[in-house]
């Protein structure tokens, strides 16, 4: 391809790109110039013609079809329709220094939350000291009597947290949600990376991106670290509600990549307060359960008596310390969106530290002043139910019709504890390939991070799920609401980059010797003809 032709193509997929005012663009600076850390990737993308890029995009999509990565949506119109989570090839890049601060903040937050949950199921000092109002905790349906006085093995309640962040127009990261009850999305992070490598490996290998493939082993190590006392080689399992669950793929994926059994409730049973798995070789004791089953379905003897998905008696086994559950039941009161507004105080209370990450100002409709403000300014606010996830039941005031606003005013007034409101945050935008228009356009993104806490160990995945709102101007990024996602590159620090490029140099030497490329990818070792550059 000669330079003149290439020049023409540059204008093709980026020619109509305009960052909307008032928003931060992850790729471009205010002046319109590309951020230095995006420059190399951006240049690479400019080399593709529209048709070339469309082909690549189809390639990436096929990767997901072939991996069977789908999800289903719960709604009236589309019951059980399976969809592919749209993947965008332009990666989200986070420089090392920016990430280091984020990681510190996320760990701080998760550790404070763990202490908070421990305290609430213990002596409730934070309530005695009136830092958090007790009514807020006691009225949460995730505050479980069955957990009172319960100290899990290893002392961890929120082993797996999915902290959602956004970058606001002031250039700072804000936490939107702390997801402490079996957050999902990690399988997309890993599959996005696979798709990225399969599609653009030549490009990918030139950047010093932190790996994400170690997550399943880190999760397994986290599970093993909190096994019951005296167990040398704990048996760990993933407990799924079954194939009809929207995240079933992820449950299977994690079990497969950790190398542990994937079980349903009916595969387990409790005898004499120990948990066993039915196998073709007879019963096998189970020590640690990563359960992707909501609290209320976990044990029909303790929670919903009509649950056929759970394991009767497992809560008693858990309380006796004969099995451990990840996450602990009853963590949900802490990620309640009304409790969210107290998280900075919770961090100060338990850690005596200033919070590293920002919180979005939150109006709690149960407070009279706040309710008044919310009712008067609803068109400027996002109104959210406190205990829903997946972006269900949300109203964005600026996008809502008069009727919708009136409807929400009624809803909120009738059930004040159930709703909070926040100013509409200006989620940053990122260049995203839009099918149909067949060009890059700015779309809003957020970032879900994944944190693991175990006994004497902690791990934040250097990567995450950058979710993209594919609808123009939409601020809702949830997959169930028509969102897509991007591979997220957390760059290595300068020092480690040196080592990498040295390795690459050696690699290149080896390649030029036999004229073949050799790569270790997620699919094992592959060999192919070297592409001339």
């Amino acid at each position: 391809m000669d330079a003149v032709v290439r020049q023409n193509h540059i204008s093709d997929i980026f020619k109509d790109y305009h960052t909307p005012p008032h928003f931060i663009d992850e790729v471009f600076q205010k002046s319109g110039e590309v951020h230095p850390y995006y420059e190399a990737v951006y240049r690479r993308f400019l080399e593709f013609s529209k048709d070339e890029f469309k082909e690549l995009n189809e390639h990436a999509k096929m990767s997901f079809f072939n991996q069977g990565i789908t999800f289903s949506v719960y709604s009236d119109e589309a019951k059980g329709v399976e969809r592919i989570f749209p993947f965008d090839l332009f990666p989200r890049i986070i420089p090392a220094a920016e990430w280091a601060r984020l990681e510190e903040g996320v760990i701080q937050r998760c550790q404070a939350m763990n202490l908070f949950i421990e305290d609430i199921y213990g002596d409730q000092h934070i309530l005695r000291d009136k830092v958090v109002p007790s009514e807020l905790i006691f009225s949460s349906k995730s505050y479980l009597k069955a957990m009172l006085g319960m100290k899990p093995i290893g002392g961890i309640y929120n082993h797996i947290s999915g902290t959602d962040l956004i970058k606001h127009s002031d250039g700072n990261y804000y936490v939107l949600e702390d997801n402490l009850r079996c957050p999902s999305g990690i399988s997309y992070v890993l599959s996005n990376r696979v798709a990225m490598k399969r599609t653009l490996f030549q490009m990918f290998r030139q950047f010093n991106v932190n790996t994400v493939h170690e997550y399943p082993q880190e999760l397994l190590a986290t599970m093993q670290s909190v096994a019951p006392n005296g167990i040398d080689a704990p048996t760990c399992v993933v407990l799924t509600p079954g194939v009809y669950n929207s995240a079933y793929f992820e449950h299977a994926f994690l079990a497969l990549t950790m190398g542990v059994p994937l079980v349903e409730g009916r595969d387990l049973y409790v005898e004499k307060n120990f948990v066993y798995m039915k196998t073709i070789n007879g019963p096998k004791r189970v020590d640690v359960v990563y359960r992707r089953l909501d609290d209320e379905f976990l044990d029909p003897m303790t929670f919903r008596p009509d649950s056929m998905l759970g394991v009767p008696g497992i809560m008693a086994a858990y309380k006796k310390g004969n099995v451990n559950l990840l996450n602990a039941p009853g963590t949900g009161f802490a990620d309640d969106k009304a409790v969210y507004s107290y998280v900075p105080d919770i961090i100060r209370y338990y850690l005596q530290q200033e919070p590293i990450l920002n919180n979005v100002h939150t109006y709690r409709c149960e407070k009279d002043d706040d309710l008044q403000y919310v009712l008067e300014n609803m068109e400027k606010l996002v109104v959210k139910p406190v205990d829903e996830s997946g972006g269900y039941g949300i109203l964005i005031g600026s996008k809502a019709s008069k009727e919708q606003i009136n409807e929400f005013k009624q809803l909120v007034t009738q059930n004040r504890r159930k709703y909070i409101a926040q100013p509409i945050m200006d989620l940053s935008v990122h260049a995203t390939f839009i099918e149909g228009a067949d060009q890059f356009e700015p779309r809003h993104v957020d970032l879900r991070t994944f944190t693991l806490l175990g006994k004497d160990r902690q791990f934040v995945l250097k990567g995450g799920l950058s979710r993209v709102a594919l609808k123009k101007d939409s601020l809702i990024v949830n997959s169930s609401q028509g969102g897509g996602s991007k591979d997220t590159w957390v760059m290595m620090e300068e020092g480690s980059a040196m080592n990498m490029s040295q390795n690459q140099q050696e690699g290149k030497q080896a390649m030029s010797m036999n004229g073949k490329t050799m790569s270790m990818g997620p699919d094992g070792m592959t060999m192919g003809s070297m592409k001339t550059e």
């Binding site: 309530l127 007790s134 006691f138 009597k145 009172l148 006085g149 049973y269 029909p300 008693a316």
Partner: protein, 289 residues
């Protein structure tokens, strides 16, 4: 002075289709507290499955068993010998009304007893019913008031097993005006809690020799916290205070925490279930042991 009882709880269940796997848990064993002691107890079941135990969130023994072989009929029996001593009643409080109220409104007191002060679906009361209810008079002590409330509910409701079932709420009971011991108790709890008095649901057994209501099956009554004294049992179904004739099995926030039997079965089709209790005061020789 004390009385010794033999308490027997027995249940029989017959299933239309074969049950392939089952898990049962029972909350029926008389508990041990200041006024009662377990001398002996035993469990038996028709499947000869070995039982195992754990404590529920309120510290009461739950007896579990798992059936791994198929069956269509299941019987379970608990037998216990309980020694019951006479309890003191909170005659004449040692606190003034103002002191009592100060305690009930104390933040730490609320936290310590919050499970028995909140309302759930069973005990929540709709404000439209408030005119029918009895609230504490300004100069009444908690104990005086609760005795009056006990009597009030006894007069207000008629005992009738027909119109209500295990899911009936206090609001529904007020509308129907009749119910069983569970309904009397939920209503008592709901009203006591509106008056900021910690109150809990008790399930247990009632001496069958006294011609009282609710002795054929497990009985329910309420325990309320009397400032300066502690927990005292009130039985609005019989307008009595819980005394030596009341053998407690467990308490909790409401019926949900105290249901005597829970089961999960893998079967198709329905089942019939039947249960009964027998409470016999033991004769003197045993008594004097």
């Amino acid at each position: 002075m004390r009385t010794v009882y033999e308490v027997v709880y027995q249940t029989q269940n017959t299933y239309e289709a074969t049950v392939k796997e089952a898990f049962f848990s029972f909350l029926v064993l008389p508990c041990q507290d200041q006024t009662q002691r377990l001398r002996t107890y035993s469990f038996s079941n028709s499947l000869e499955a070995e039982v195992f135990h754990h404590s529920n969130p309120f510290g009461f023994d739950v007896t579990c068993l798992r059936a791994s072989q198929s069956f269509t009929h299941f019987e379970f029996c608990m037998k216990a010998v309980v020694e019951k001593s006479f309890a003191l009643f909170p005659y004449g409080s040692n606190m003034t009304v103002a002191q009592e109220q100060a305690l009930l409104h104390d933040h730490n007191f609320f936290l310590d007893y919050h499970l028995f002060l909140g309302t759930g679906r069973y005990t929540q009361l709709n404000p439209k019913h408030y005119p029918k209810l009895l609230f504490r008079g300004e100069n009444q002590t908690v104990y005086e008031y609760l005795q009056q409330l006990n009597n009030h509910l006894y007069q207000l409701l008629e005992f009738d097993p027909e119109p209500t079932h295990v899911c009936t709420t206090a609001n529904e009971v007020l509308e129907i005006g009749r119910g069983v011991c569970q309904d009397f108790t939920h209503l008592f709890i709901g009203i006591a809690r509106l008056n900021k008095i910690p109150c809990r649901y008790v399930s247990g057994y009632l001496n069958q020799g006294l011609n009282l209501t609710g002795t054929a099956v497990m009985h329910a009554w309420a325990e309320a916290y009397i400032p300066g004294f502690g927990w005292q049992g009130f039985d609005p179904t019989n307008n009595l205070l819980a005394d030596v004739h009341y053998i407690k099995a467990a308490h909790g926030t409401d019926y949900n925490d105290c249901s005597p039997i829970k089961g999960m079965l893998r079967t198709n089709g329905g089942h019939t279930t039947d249960y009964g209790v027998k409470i016999t005061p033991l004769p003197e020789p045993y008594h004097n042991q």
